[in-house]
Amino acid sequence: MKRWIVLLLACIALPLVSGEYYINLASQILIFAVFASSINLLLGYGGLPTLGHAAYLGVAAYLSALVALKFGLGHLAAAPAALVGTTLMAAAFGLIALRATGLGFLMLTLALSQVLWGTALRWVSVTDGDNGLRGLARPAPFGINLDGATAFYYFSLVITVIALAFMARFVSSPFGAALKGTRDQARRMSALGHDVWMIRWLTFIYAGFWGAVSGLLFVYYHKYIHPVSLSLANSAEGLLAVIAGGSGTLAGPLVGAAIVMLLKNYVSAYVERWNMLLGFVFVVIVVFMPEGVVPGVKRLWRRFISRA
């Protein structure tokens, strides 16, 4: 708990010591961290590998944008509409995706998100296709203007902390324990009388909800949404962030999100072939640190401590 408080304090202090560019980068890391954490609920705690989670981020972003642009409604209407709509979609998709497990589940989540991506691209009359939707505004909760980098950063920080707090409660609750049980020993859980399918389906919906939250943050930050945000690459990066940081831990996705975002946005200025570098990092982490950075570091730390 102490470590979390220290981290939180560091996050709060960040804008005091950094320029605008770094504050913006930190906001993006937070948004991506929420996205990765929502994937982690399924992958790390549920043992269900999803390669289509960008669908929830994207659909929430699009719904929020469309409510604002097509109906002229403000965020008080757009945000709940986006969250409810996406969560219902997650429920529906869960029904389809959970007809399989393991690789089949992976393929289904991938296929479903590809269908959405293709629809966003081709349903030009609604989504304006490859142009994306622009001219969006950030919300002004309690009248506070979020256009500045620092203001938006604190807003994202508050949302991220709330999201992580909820996810932490979820994971340590009896339901969470049951979920971990279905990850490790599905048949035994079933024999003990748990409804494995229902546990997974509810988790799927919950993960979709938080994915939607990250989608809202995403569209608020960028003030723009484009079909590419629903693409396989986006889902894959989220998955990588979880695996890199350490699935099945709460801090893992945060670390992973930071790693991926820094590589993409910061390092790419200095290394021209950053795509290749991202691929290499992918491969190296999966092969040599399959449990992820956070558990790996914990392991080394414990060894260091015991030696001292």
């Binding site: 089949g104 991506w117 349903w123 072939r273 691929g279």
Partner: protein, 286 residues
């Protein structure tokens, strides 16, 4: 009448290309349980290598075979050095193949540049074939013929040779195959190389129709996935039938309902996994 005839021939040609791509994917998936997300990139790599080979050896078929061998070698190295280390970690293997795809795509960009490079059609196939008042590109018909030939050769290989029997055994029941003394690890490498070779050669053969361009891997991979899921994993017949079904669905779907192109493409696959996970001819659920 002309329209339907040409669309049918288009579908067959696309199906033929997809078969070359998907046959390897299906075998790898079937035997090794790896969804090889590098497969699209291997296809693209094959196309690019073919382009370079054609500068020295101006014969498309020779270039296809040579390119296939090079890509097979690469595949073998990939399997032995990277995939083997992740034995058992199915998700890890899938992710690693995705990472390698990233790397390959960027590598091709560095070596061959960002412009699309055309692959010249063999001169004796350049003129359209005129039959009953219809003009149809001769090369596309040739692709169908090649796909059928490759299909027959693969079928014979899988069904009638000892190596093929070992592969079939491995697909059916890996543990039992090991128990019976089949060298499953070596088989893995062989099959991966074979799949890579088919993809690489396919890239060259598809070259005159599609050229080699950055993004070719991302265009072909989803199609391979669809074919294999539809047709069934680990089944050559499934890959064959699935390829032509996909070819027809895509060609006619795009023509009749262009706005729903992606839905049309993926919907059959979703329905199949959800309601018949084995696919049409699969040995097991994906």
């Amino acid at each position: 009448m002309q329209y339907w005839a040409i669309q049918t021939l288009n579908s067959l040609a696309l199906g033929g290309l997809l078969f070359l791509l998907a046959a390897g994917f299906s075998l790898i998936f079937g035997l090794m349980r790896i969804a090889n997300l590098t497969h699209g990139a291997l296809y693209m790599l094959g196309a690019y290598i073919g382009v370079s080979i054609l500068k020295v050896v101006p014969n498309l078929w020779a270039a296809a075979i040579l390119s296939g061998l090079v890509v097979a070698a690469f595949g073998g190295v990939l399997e032995k050095l990277v995939l083997r280390k992740l034995g058992g970690n199915v998700l890890g293997q899938v992710l690693v193949t995705l990472g390698i795809a990233f790397i390959l795509a960027d590598f091709c960009l560095v070596v061959w540049g960002g412009d699309p490079i055309p692959v010249p059609t063999p001169s004796w196939l350049q003129q359209p074939l005129r039959v009953a008042g219809l003009a149809f590109p001769a090369y596309r018909l040739a692709v169908v013929v090649i796909a059928v030939l490759v299909g027959i050769i693969l079928f014979y290989f899988i069904e009638k040779t000892r190596l093929g029997a070992m592969i079939r055994a491995g697909v059916d029941d890996r543990e039992m195959a090991r128990a019976v003394g089949i060298p499953v690890s070596r088989l893995f490498t062989t099959v991966f190389c074979l799949g890579a070779a088919l993809a690489g050669a396919g890239g060259v053969i598809g070259g005159p129709i599609m050229s080699a361009y950055p993004g070719l891997d991302a265009d072909m991979l989803p199609l391979a996935l669809i074919v294999v899921i539809l047709g069934g994993v680990g089944s050559l017949t499934g890959a064959f039938v699935g390829s032509f079904v996909t070819g027809f669905v895509y060609t006619f779907g795009v023509a009749l309902l262009p706005d729903l192109a992606y839905v049309i493409l993926f919907l059959p696959m979703i329905l199949v996994i959800a309601f018949r996970p084995r696919g049409l001819f699969g040995k097991f659920a994906a």
